[in-house]
Structure formats: structure tokens, C-alpha cells
Amino acid sequence: MFSIKMITKHTSITALAIVGLLFVGSACKKGHDNTGVVYAPQMYEPVGYEPYRQSRANTINVRENGLNMRLPARGTVARPNYHTTFGTGANKTTDLMMYNIPADSIGIAERVLTNPIADSEKMQAEGQVLYTRYCSHCHGATGKGDGPVAKEYKGVPNYSTDAYKTMNDGHIFHVITHGKGRMWPHGSQITPEDRWKIVQYVHKLQQG
């Protein structure tokens, strides 16, 4: 109200136009491709090298195009990040589950391997969860080979048919690890412990 008397008619019209423009401006939200403004980016971006966050090229790993993520050194042995001991008391079993049988030796796997995890309701329930996560979109919820992806993928077998219902622990474990026929290897996605739990559940599905 203080300096209003100084405002002439024309300037007030321009002022109104500016107000209108401001409104139009504020109505425009930031685009979908824009992360927007960040306050104090040095607090947002990590100082250390992280695998999934890279705002600038890594100056140490120049050989691999400045990537943060690196392969482990050759010959590295993974420390098992899964259980290796099962059961309690007299039933206690230990198995490191180091799996060294080559991809083309499914016969050896069939003869040598047995499931280190004792058959139990709890393990089967866990196996079912894992089966639903990693297998059911192709093999179907009941193992009939009728998952939604199988219609596109084709050639997914039915577990409970003649040729498949007698397949043993070693065979199933080997196929999950290295794949067989049209199925590709899934060893990188599922830990050996989880694979054995899936094997148990698949045995249940084989009974139809």
C-alpha cells in the first residue's frame, strides 16, 4: 500500500501480466527426465566408489573404461553366504555345497549327489516360495510346464510325466545349476542352499 500511488495505470497492467506469466511458469512441473534440483549435492553423492552410483569415471580402474564395478580376481573362491549345517543333534549334517561337477557331466551328478537338507515340512514350504520366485513363470505353479512364459518359450516339460517323474536329486540340482536342453543355467541367481530346497519341492511336484 506504501508505494501504490506511484504506480501508474500502465505499470499496473504490466504488473498483472507478470503475475499471470509467473502463474503459467509455476504451473509447468519439472519434466519426467529431470531429477530436479538437489541441495548440497556433495551430501547426496557418495565419496567412496559404489557399484550402482557413478557420477564420474573411476580414475583407478582405467583399464575397464573407468567402471566402479569390478570382477573378482581370477581364482577367487566365494565364501558361502548360505547355511552349510542342517538339523540338530544326531541328525546334524554338514555340507559345504561346493559344486564342481562340469556342465556336461549330468550322469556324475545323478550318481554322486544327494540332498544335504533333510526332508521336512518347513523346508518344503521354503522350497515352494523359492520355486514360485525362480521357476513357476515357466514350469507353472504345479510343475505342469504351463507357466505364462512357457507359452512363448515352448518345450517346458511336465514334471509328473513318465520321463520326468523319476529324476533324482542330483539330476534336478545339476539342471538348475547348469541348465539342460532349452533351459539356461540358473546357478548365478540361486544359492546352492536355495537350489536344494527347490529340489525338495520339485520332488513333491513330480508326484503330480
Binding site: 500500500m1 501504490i4 495505470k9 499496473s12 498483472l16 503475475v19 499471470g20 509467473l22 502463474f23 503459467v24 509455476s26 504451473a27 512441473k29 519439472k30 519426467h32 527426465d33 531429477t35 530436479g36 534440483v37 538437489v38 541441495y39 551430501m43 547426496y44 553423492e45 557418495p46 565419496v47 557399484p51 550402482y52 552410483r53 573404461n65 567402471l67 564395478m69 514360485t132 520366485r133 525362480y134 513363470h137 510346464g145 507357466g147 505364462p148 512364459v149 512357457a150 512363448e152 518359450y153 515352448k154 518345450g155 517346458v156 516339460p157 511336465n158 510325466t161 513318465d162 520321463a163 520326468y164 536342453g181 532349452r182 539356461w184 543355467p185 540358473h186 548365478s188 541367481q189 540361486i190
Partner: protein
Amino acid sequence: MLIHSINIVQKMSCLYKLCGAVVLSLMLLLSNSQVKAQDSASAPAAAAPAGGGGGDVEKGKTLFTNNCAQCHSITAEKVVGPGLKGIESRTPGKDWLHKWIRNSSAVIASGDAYANQVFNANGKVQMSSFPSLSDADIDGILAYIAQGDKPAVASTGGDTSKNTEGTGGGSASVGGPSELFTFVLIALLVIMLLVLGVLLVIVTILSKAVSPVTTTDGTQIPSSFGQRMKTGLSDAFNNPTLRSVVIWLFLLVVTKATIDGAYSVGIQQGYAPKQPIAYSHKLHAGQYKIDCNYCHTGAQKGKSATIPAANICMNCHGVIKKESPEIQKIYTAIENNQPIEWIRVHNLPDLAYFNHAQHVNVGNVACQTCHGEIEKMEVVEARSSLTMGWCIDCHRRTEVNTKDNAYYDKLVALHRKESKEPLKVANIGGLECSKCHY
């Protein structure tokens, strides 16, 4: 008022655009269903009549569906293995077929010329052995194949009509909600028009109220509408109350916009960058129902949910849609040993710690709680604000799943002494600064 009308005009144009989009999408939907109907109408032409064999057709059909249908069709169409139409006439004979079905690898190993030719012609994919099938079983299967899909022709016809009905119903049901949507839009439009009308009435009342007043120097009342409006407006500008009201309103609005703008700093809600490969979660997680954990293997085990490496894509795309240009980008990346540079959508600032396993595995939080309905997103968008208030709000609301977990027993007992409320995340340190900021 000018401001308001500008805003209204803007909103109206948005509405028109929306209406246009709705009409367009409806048209698209309808045309899609028409195409589907045409496709399914041409389908039954594939069925072909053929002569009968010497086995139990019904039993053969069951055996075929259970053991063979995954890789073979009874028509000439190749699925994984060759189509089996006319199998008896093109192979060396029934005895050979019996041997082949029971153990094809042995027949190939014996050096049989035809067996090797078939094996090589089908990409050297080994056929499963069926040692438990008897001669009668195999004859039944062969009889079923020879008979073709004769009795099934009628049922295929039935399926077709069902399909068309299905698609018709689908488009109708799709039409339902969008009709509601247009109704709501029209209702909004009417309300907008009413508001505009009220505003216009106010304007006319004001101008009328102003018009009879003579100007300060005592000249006659202007006769033309334009002149009256002009004096009315200048009077309005010279009216201190009206001016101050306008200025105060302006200041309030600007303050609100400034505060809103300041609060949106660092928030990336709605961020949906274009990814290097047009991967659709709607297709993979929605239509094909592939579990999130299948690709994001780290979600259950580690801090990061992990972006799948190309080998996981290859689990399916080693076979499916290899020729698609988008999938070829994965092949190129693998051949050149170059990473696919996916753009991170959810950027939590480095000052806050977040662990996926803690929330997904232990807390049993569904992916959609934070990421929204990913299975319906063509392009992934940041649906949550990821602000501290948002985290804290969830920690206050969420009950800890203490069932069958001995770790929580003493905590629950202690908590029961103090409160009747169930144990929430906030009660086990979910609001402590140092849990996330260190």
C-alpha cells in the same frame, strides 16, 4: 480475476487434451479387439483330416498331451521339435519310431542315417527319452497323430467363438471404467464453467456498480460500453481496498509457490528417465508374472536389489524374440563386453542408509509398497518421494512381524509391560537418527 481466468483457461485446455486422449485410447482398444477377433476367426483352417492308425486314440491323446505336446504339435507346425503331421509316412517305419521315442540318443549313436539327418536338421537338440512307454502306448500316440485333430475341429470352433466373445466382453468391461472417467471429466468441466460464470457475473456487477459514478472532474457519464469499462477499470485500480486485496493475494500465492518449490528440492518423485533398452516391467512382471526376485536377486540378500546382469536376460532371450532390435542391444553388449548403462531411477542420497534385505526379507515389505505398481509400468517411475518424513511415517505405522522369531521374544515382553499397542518399527529403533544416518 485475470489470474483466475488464465488458470481456468489452462485447466480447460488440459481437460480437452485429456478428453482427446481418452477418446483416442478407446478407439485404439476397439481396433485392437477387432484385430484379435479376425485372428481367431482364421485359426481353425489349420486343422487337417487324416486316416486312422492301429492304436487306442483316446489313450494316445492323453499320453501325447502329457509327454510330447511341450515340444511337438500334431500339425506340420514346428514347436521345438518338428511338427508330427504325416510322421509315419516320412520315417523308416513303426519299429524305427518305437526305438527312436524310447531312446533317440541311442539311435543317433548307432549311426542311423535318417536319425542323424533329423538330429542335425533340428539344431542338434536332444529329445527326451521315454523308456517306460510300451509298444501299445506308442501306437496309441501315433494313431492320435495320424487321426489329426478331427474330433477337435468342433471344439476349436467353439473355442474361437468363445475367444471372440471374450474379446468383446473385454472391450466392454474396458469401456466401463473409461466411461466413468469421461463422466467425471464432464462433471468437472461443468463445475469449471459454473465457476467461470460466477466470475463473469462478479465482473459485470462490479462494472455496473462503477459505471454510474461520474469521473472526478465532473464530466458527463460515458455512454459507450468500452469507455464505461475503461473508467470502471481505472476506478478499480484507484480503489485502495481492491488494490491491496489483489496485492496481498499475489504475495500469498507467491509465498506458497516459493515454499512448495523449496520443499521439492531433492525430491525426485515422478522421475521416469528413458532407459538405454526399452524394457517393460508391465510386460515381464505384469503379463508374464515373472517374480521381481528372479531378476533382482539381491533384494532378499543384500543392500542393493541389484540390476540383473545380461546373463539373466539370456535365460529367456537366448530363445525368445532374439531378432527384436531392443534385444539385439543386449547381444551387442555381451559381444563387446560392454555394460548396459541403465539409468538409476531411485536415488537415495548418500547421507541416508537403506538396506533391501532388511526390509524385503526380514520385514516382509512388498516391493510395491515403496516402488508403486511396477507391474503396470511401461517405463519405471519413482512413485514415492523417498523423503525422511515418508520413511518415518511408515516406521510409525508398520507392525513388526515377530511371529516365529525368537529374536523378538524379549523385546515383545518388554514392550507389553509399557504399552498395549502392538510392537511397531518405531519401538525397535526405527526413529533413531543413527539407524540411517552415520
